[in-house]
């Protein structure tokens, strides 16, 4: 993509000069205040007010300036070296999970879009494990970059829309915006965010200590005051830095993104979808908002275009962005909104609904090694039977002929065409999981549930899921729910409410964890979703009996008013 290299480099350098001036200003004032305090102290207590003035003279000012220059150079140098890693830790972004379909798709898209830039950058995809809808990018001087999306975004956008959002973020990387915002955030943003979080924590947790022990209260007040001071000073200087970052860079990135993908409509749709959801306000610190495609906080200022708004706001109005993109495609915003809504409705209709009963599935009686007839088994149950070979004798449960052309009632498994997938799966060998079902004592089967790898028992339909992957499952909406499940979910929740108090403490499960063989406890999934599940006390595994996983997903989706 032809962007002049020198243009970008010059832009980078002026921006860093501005940052440097702000930081010098910060240290200059700090040095002035400290210097004045020291000199005033000296004047009052040591000289006892006999000679000189308590204020700093010209030499004092010059020394302060020197100190400020040195300190600023060290600060900027330090920030530039590892800004990206530190901001990333503050945002809590994880690496992608290579086993997860959605994560893999995201990584593929990042890879593809990077090709459009001529492959100039080394872009690592990362994920913020949050239900919010947002995306961000960061970059350092050497061309390493991070492009991140929230779990919510991966679940709610389709491939084209995700590609458009990624292109927007890659555009930031290509134009050098990301580098500037990353440095800007790391200069004061991290301190402000840390102080903000600490102050918040102290306010929430401190109150108890306060009343219990009167003695420590003074120290806490001093501590809080200092924290507040740090917060307001860093926030003020961070505000100065934000001035220098124009809100127009978002419009520019939109335009470059369209040049990368040639698809303005998808970007416009993605912006609309993100703007309608929760963008992470309260979870993503406001000091990092410049990194994101849309401001995590919904600020009235962002939607206005006065002189002050242009100066203070970090993001242009959403409707303006959508309008520009819509005009590129010779359509209008109303059309795009209409399309998004009707597409969502069509997707909702197309959700795959599991069948109501298993009764019409074919079943077989099988003769085991001891020549005893066992069964009836469904096809998925037959898949995990270790002793079933193509030579095993089988008959249909219900008396039909196993092979219509031959017309036999009894035959070997290799004669039954419907059983072929069993042996196919055994040949592949990838499907049988390493875990054993705690209730049936049979091997679990690895499955893909809305893109997340889970382990299911084909006999009792229980599932073993890693707790850390539950957010993704509850967010994604591939599978629909049949009426039986909806009724069951409502009933379970109602029952749970009646027993909420006597079952508040989890009790030991009758079995051990299939993963670490440690004790499991049976209790409510959370206090909001009153479904009893078995959680391992040691590792992160959760065992769901039949339907429990689907019930929880149903309850979460149907209590969710933000999405």
């Amino acid at each position: 993509m032809p962007l002049t290299y020198t243009e970008i480099e010059q832009n980078k350098n002026t921006q860093i000069l501005i940052f440097f001036l702000v930081v010098v200003l910060f240290y200059f004032f700090t040095a002035l205040i400290v210097g004045s305090l020291v000199k005033g102290f000296f004047h009052l207590y040591v000289m006892e007010g006999r000679a000189g003035s308590p204020l700093l003279g010209l030499p004092g000012l010059i020394v302060s300036l020197m100190i400020a220059l040195v300190a600023a150079a060290i600060h900027i140098g330090h920030s530039m070296r590892n800004a990206m890693a530190r901001v990333r830790i503050n945002l809590g972004a994880d690496d992608i999970d290579p086993e997860d379909n959605y994560h893999r798709l995201f990584a593929t898209i990042v890879d593809e879009v990077n090709v459009a830039t001529g492959g100039r950058y080394k872009i690592t995809p990362v994920i913020i494990p949050s239900v919010a809808l947002n995306a961000f990018s960061m970059a350092d001087r050497k061309g390493n970059a991070l492009v991140g999306a929230t779990e919510g975004l991966l679940a709610k956008l389709n491939r084209q829309q995700l590609q458009a959002v990624v292109a927007h973020e890659v555009a930031h990387v290509a134009t050098g915006d990301s580098f500037q915002t990353t440095i800007g955030c790391s200069l004061f943003g991290i301190f402000a965010a840390t102080a903000h979080a600490a102050l918040h924590g102290a306010r929430a947790g401190g109150r108890v200590r306060w009343t219990r022990r009167g003695k420590g209260a003074g120290a806490i007040v001093v501590f809080l005051f200092l924290l507040f001071l740090v917060l307001s000073v860093t926030q003020f200087f961070y505000g100065l830095i934000r001035f220098s970052l124009s809100r127009d860079r978002e419009l520019r990135a939109d335009a470059v993104a369209v040049r990368l993908t040639r698809d303005p409509i998808s970007l416009s749709e993605a912006l609309y979808k993100i703007s309608r959801g929760w963008r992470g306000f309260g979870q993503i610190d406001k000091n990092f908002s410049t990194l994101f495609i849309l401001n995590p906080a919904k600020e009235a200022r962002d939607e206005r275009e006065g002189f002050m708004d242009n100066l203070f706001s970090t993001h242009p109005p959403i409707r303006k962005r959508m309008k520009i993109l819509a005009e590129m495609a010779h359509t209008d915003v109303a059309h795009i909104v209409h399309d998004v809504v009707s597409k969502a409705r069509r997707e909702e209709m197309a959700r795959e609904i599991p069948p109501e009963t298993e009764a019409d599935q074919p079943k077989w009686m099988l003769r085991d090694d001891g020549q005893n007839w066992k069964g009836p088994f469904t096809i998925s149950q037959a898949m995990v039977l270790g002793w079933l070979t193509p030579a095993t004798w089988v008959k249909r449960f219900g008396g039909q002929a196993i092979n219509e052309t031959l017309g036999q009632a009894l035959g070997q498994a290799r004669d039954e065409p419907l059983l072929t997938p069993v042996f196919d799966s055994k040949l592949g060998g990838a499907n049988i999981s390493k875990f054993t079902c705690p209730t049936c004592n049979q091997k679990l089967v690895d499955e893909d549930y809305e893109g997340v790898p889970i382990h299911r028992c084909v006999f009792c339909d229980g599932t073993l899921v890693d707790r850390r992957k539950m957010t993704r499952i509850s967010l994604r909406t591939e599978k629909g729910f049949n009426e039986r499940l909806a009724r069951l979910a409502d009933l379970t929740q109602k029952n749970g409410e009646a027993r909420r108090n006597d079952r508040a403490k989890p009790e030991p499960s009758p079995f051990n964890c299939p993963n670490c063989d440690h004790e499991m406890r049976r209790g409510f999934y959370t206090y909001q979703y009153l479904v009893e599940v078995d959680k391992c006390v040691r590792c992160t595994m959760v065992w769901f009996d039949k339907d429990e996983l689907e019930i929880i997903q149903y309850l979460i989706e149907h209590s969710d008013s933000t999405a």
Binding site: T108, V115, A116
Partner: protein
């Protein structure tokens, strides 16, 4: 006095010439680089196809001609050189792959095959990368061609016999066709 003026003018011309010459060097290298980017993706596609055909062979016993077309188109795409011929060969390959996937739609077992699925995913991704790198290449080519057409760079271009580069275009009947509206 006149000598000084002439010297100044000559100096300005030399400076301008150096500027134009360097700009040409930059643009031509970027075009070359972008073309190399396309070739990387095309080679990736060529490498994927034998596996794809091998996997599909077991299921598509009655569709030998479709498979043979794919193999033939791939071989041709590898053999040709020159941007224009390459473009044509690659478009042929795209067409033959498309008809292979259309045929595969009728074979549920093939569609459910894990290797086939992952190959198809990877091929889709590679196709996207081809189209993205093509965009990148075309952007640079347009920039170079516009520069060659403009004055005074066209003088320099004539002097050094710099030629316009070819755009990498899609020759796809389905994409090119203007939709017909009937009343």
């Amino acid at each position: 006095m006149i000598a000084i003026i002439i010297l100044v003018i000559l100096g300005a011309i030399v400076v301008a010439f150096i500027g134009v010459f360097n700009r040409f060097a930059h643009l031509r290298n970027e075009v070359k680089n972008a073309w190399a980017g396309i070739e990387v993706q095309l080679r990736r596609r060529h490498d994927l196809i034998p596996n794809l055909v091998e996997t599909a062979k077991g299921y598509l016993k009655h569709e030998q001609t479709t498979l043979e077309n794919v193999i033939k188109a791939r071989q041709q795409a590898i053999d040709v050189s020159g941007i224009k011929d390459k473009m044509q060969a690659e478009n042929m390959l795209t067409q033959s792959l498309r008809s292979l996937f259309a045929v595969a739609e009728n074979y549920p077992n093939l569609k459910a095959d894990k290797t086939m699925m992952s190959l198809q995913d990877e091929l889709t991704s590679t196709e996207n990368k081809v189209s993205f790198s093509r965009n990148n290449y075309n952007d640079w080519v347009t920039k170079l061609n516009r520069y060659i057409d403009s004055f005074p760079p066209n003088i320099v271009a004539n002097f050094f016999h710099y030629e316009k580069a070819d755009l990498f275009e899609i020759e796809d009947a389905a994409v090119r066709e203007v939709p017909k509206v009937k009343f």
